[in-house]
């Protein structure tokens, strides 16, 4: 168990810089999820922590020791790869024992450790099988077992669930969470799946294009996204963004000539008549009471998801696309006009130029 400190990490491949100074501070026993769209540099960052990729500049320390130049084996980390990377010619037992064998553990100690982990992961029956005789989920668990037997200071995961089918992914996600509760080993987990990120992480590091967008607990990122990118990346269906302008008195935003929504200015630096991006999540609308005013939405179509209904439509006045999620089942015909109220405490405002939260 150990702290991991990542300071000003820059990575360039030749001329192109793909990470532009990442800073993160990972506490002992924490489960950190690095999340971002494909190609943003998540794997690169993880592989630098593992020692599989050179560090162009900056420092990485594990447990107070700078590991920049250490070989992967000397960093006391273990890694689960996306395609598991099990040794195809070794049995499950040998796969798990290999790292221990190279570290000169006694045969007896190896047996004790592998058996204990096999029990923990329900792999006892499979110890004599070769990887190709296992299902995807079982391979996944063997890959995890191979890491756990080593009892390393840090676990690294690079999209370990992305090769599993949806149901198994949910199940493995839960198991991973339970496992972490039990072992309490510092874990760094890379994924591009925001649901995985939200459900697994103690804290998330959102990376976009080689820059950190925001670091914090999932709920905080969800409720107070620091930028348009984070706001749009987390949550499904994604947040609605509308271009708007602050009214002259600073108490409301003007979405179109006829539609305006009042906002509270607490904790916000509101500048009158400034152009802003107005953001609101689909679930933060409610139907206005009969006769009251609100945002008029012309419905395009509605999807029924059982527990909720998702409505796609266009805002009257400026024709922008809006997604609304209402609890329960609503039977709504296309072309009807709904009056919506945006819940004021859930309104986000962003600076359209910098993308930062106001």
């Amino acid at each position: 168990m150990a702290k991991v400190l990542i300071e000003d990490i820059i990575k360039s491949y030749g001329e192109t810089e793909v990470l532009h100074g990442i800073n993160t501070d990972i506490a002992d026993g924490e489960f950190i999820v690095i999340v971002g769209p494909s190609g943003c540099g998540k794997s690169t960052l993880l592989r630098m922590i593992a020692g599989l990729e050179d560090i162009s500049s900056g420092t990485i320390s594990i447990d107070g020791k700078v590991v920049n130049t250490l070989e992967p084996k000397d960093r006391d980390i273990a890694m689960v790869f996306q395609n598991y990377a099990l040794y195809p010619h070794m049995t499950v037992f040998k796969n798990m024992a290999y790292g221990l064998k190279l570290r000169k553990f006694s045969k007896k100690e190896i047996k004790v450790r592998v058996d204990r982990v096999a029990k923990l992961l329900q792999l006892e029956e499979l110890l004599d099988r070769k990887p190709r005789q296992l299902s995807g989920g079982q391979r996944q668990r063997v890959a995890m077992g191979r890491c756990i037997v080593r009892e390393p200071k840090v676990f690294l995961f690079d999209e370990p669930l992305s090769n599993l089918d949806a149901k198994l992914r949910v199940q493995m996600r839960l198991e991973l969470r339970k496992l972490h509760k039990r072992l309490k080993v510092t874990s760094i987990y890379v994924t591009h799946d925001q649901v995985e990120a939200m459900t697994l992480g103690d804290r998330l590091v959102v990376i976009n294009d080689g820059y950190t967008e925001q670091i914090g607990p999932p709920l905080e990122l969800y409720e107070k996204p620091a930028s348009i990118f984070v706001a749009g990346f987390l949550g499904s269906p994604a947040m609605n963004f509308l271009s708007a302008q602050i009214s002259a008195d600073g108490n409301s935003v003007q979405l179109s000539e006829t539609v305006q929504v009042s906002v509270d200015s607490v904790n916000r630096q509101i500048i009158a008549e400034k152009k802003v991006t107005f953001g609101i999540r689909p679930e933060h609308f409610s139907l206005s009471d009969k006769g009251k005013t609100g945002l008029p939405l012309t419905v395009d179509h509605a999807e029924f998801h059982g527990a909720s209904t998702i409505i796609y439509g266009r805002l009257q006045g400026n024709d922008e696309l809006i997604t609304v999620r209402l609890p329960h089942v609503h039977h709504i015909n296309p072309k009807t006009v709904l009056m919506l109220t945006a819940l004021p405490e859930h309104i986000h405002l962003f600076d359209p130029k910098t993308g930062k939260r106001i």
């Binding site: 599989l52 790869f81 395609n83 099990l86 040794y87 190279l102």
Partner: protein, 282 residues
């Protein structure tokens, strides 16, 4: 498309049987020839059914020797061939594995230059550079010994390319997982790379063993000492018996014996061999 009609089945069986007959007939004649005495073999028509001299001929050829190569028994020649074929096969595989390993997994200066140098040797087989190679071998004092027989044939680009191709299909993650587990380069080579390319090695071994066993020109050139004769060149020498007529019955027996080791290697490694040529899973 797979034909199910009886006519088609009948037809394809005929073709297959004809093929087998064409291949098997000379072998049958060899066997028949090896089982008659010298006199019968000089009379026409040649026999088509086996005689009763098989074990007598076997002893005569295997232990006592034949014709011009009389001082050398077929047993010794086969032993020489076996050593040569094994050394060539094992040597080629060992060298090619290591050079392919270096080219695929290490970044050293002039890597591509070395790669292309190996490539160029493809265009220069022993037959093309036979005189200079002979000169070199002679200067090293390797005439008339196993080193001279095998070393010039060992350096080989084809096998290096094959292993390079095999190694390129091994996923990078395997190397990375091994590095994290604490394996150094040679450990990775021994524990992961070799077992993973096991079937390819077996396939190549079969091919190279037969290649080595069938060498004719090179052994002919560098062995003058009869104790170093190999079986393939030995058969040729038997045909050139000075005065008397060739001892066909013994020559046939020798040929039959010469076929056995390659056949055994193919049969013994058949399963791995086929896997090595067809399997793609890594």
């Amino acid at each position: 498309m797979i034909e199910q009609r009886p006519v088609a089945a009948w037809f394809s069986h005929t073709v297959l049987i004809l093929g087998v007959v064409v291949v098997a007939f000379p072998i049958w004649i060899t066997f028949v020839g090896a089982s008659h005495d010298a006199i019968r073999m000089t009379q026409v028509p040649l026999p088509l059914l086996p005689g009763d001299q098989f074990f007598i001929n076997l002893k005569a050829a295997f232990v006592d020797g034949v014709g011009n190569a009389k001082e050398q028994s077929v047993g010794i020649m086969m032993f020489n061939s076996l050593i040569m074929a094994l050394m060539i096969a094992v040597g080629k595989i060992a060298i090619s594995l290591l050079s392919a390993f270096a080219i695929v997994y290490f970044r050293f200066p002039f890597r591509m230059m070395f790669f292309w140098m190996i490539f160029i040797t493809l265009m220069l087989p022993v037959e093309v550079r036979i005189l200079p190679t002979f000169e070199v071998v002679a200067n090293f004092g390797m005439l008339n010994n196993y080193w001279g027989l095998t070393v010039p044939l060992i350096a080989s680009a084809t096998a290096t390319f094959m292993f390079r191709q095999v190694f390129l299909t091994v996923p990078d993650e395997l190397l990375e997982a091994a590095r994290i587990d604490g394996a150094g380069p040679m450990r990775f080579f021994k524990d992961i790379l070799l077992p993973v390319s096991r079937t390819n090695i077996a396939a190549l071994f079969v091919i190279l063993f037969i290649y080595g066993w069938n060498q004719y020109l090179w052994p002919l050139l560098i062995t003058t000492d009869k104790s170093m004769y190999t079986i393939v060149m030995g058969i040729k020498q038997m045909l050139e018996a000075a005065e008397e007529a060739p001892e066909w019955h013994l020559i046939m027996m020798t040929t039959l014996l010469a076929m056995i080791p390659p056949v055994l290697v193919v049969i013994g490694m058949q399963k791995l061999f086929i896997k090595g040529l067809t399997e793609t899973e890594k």
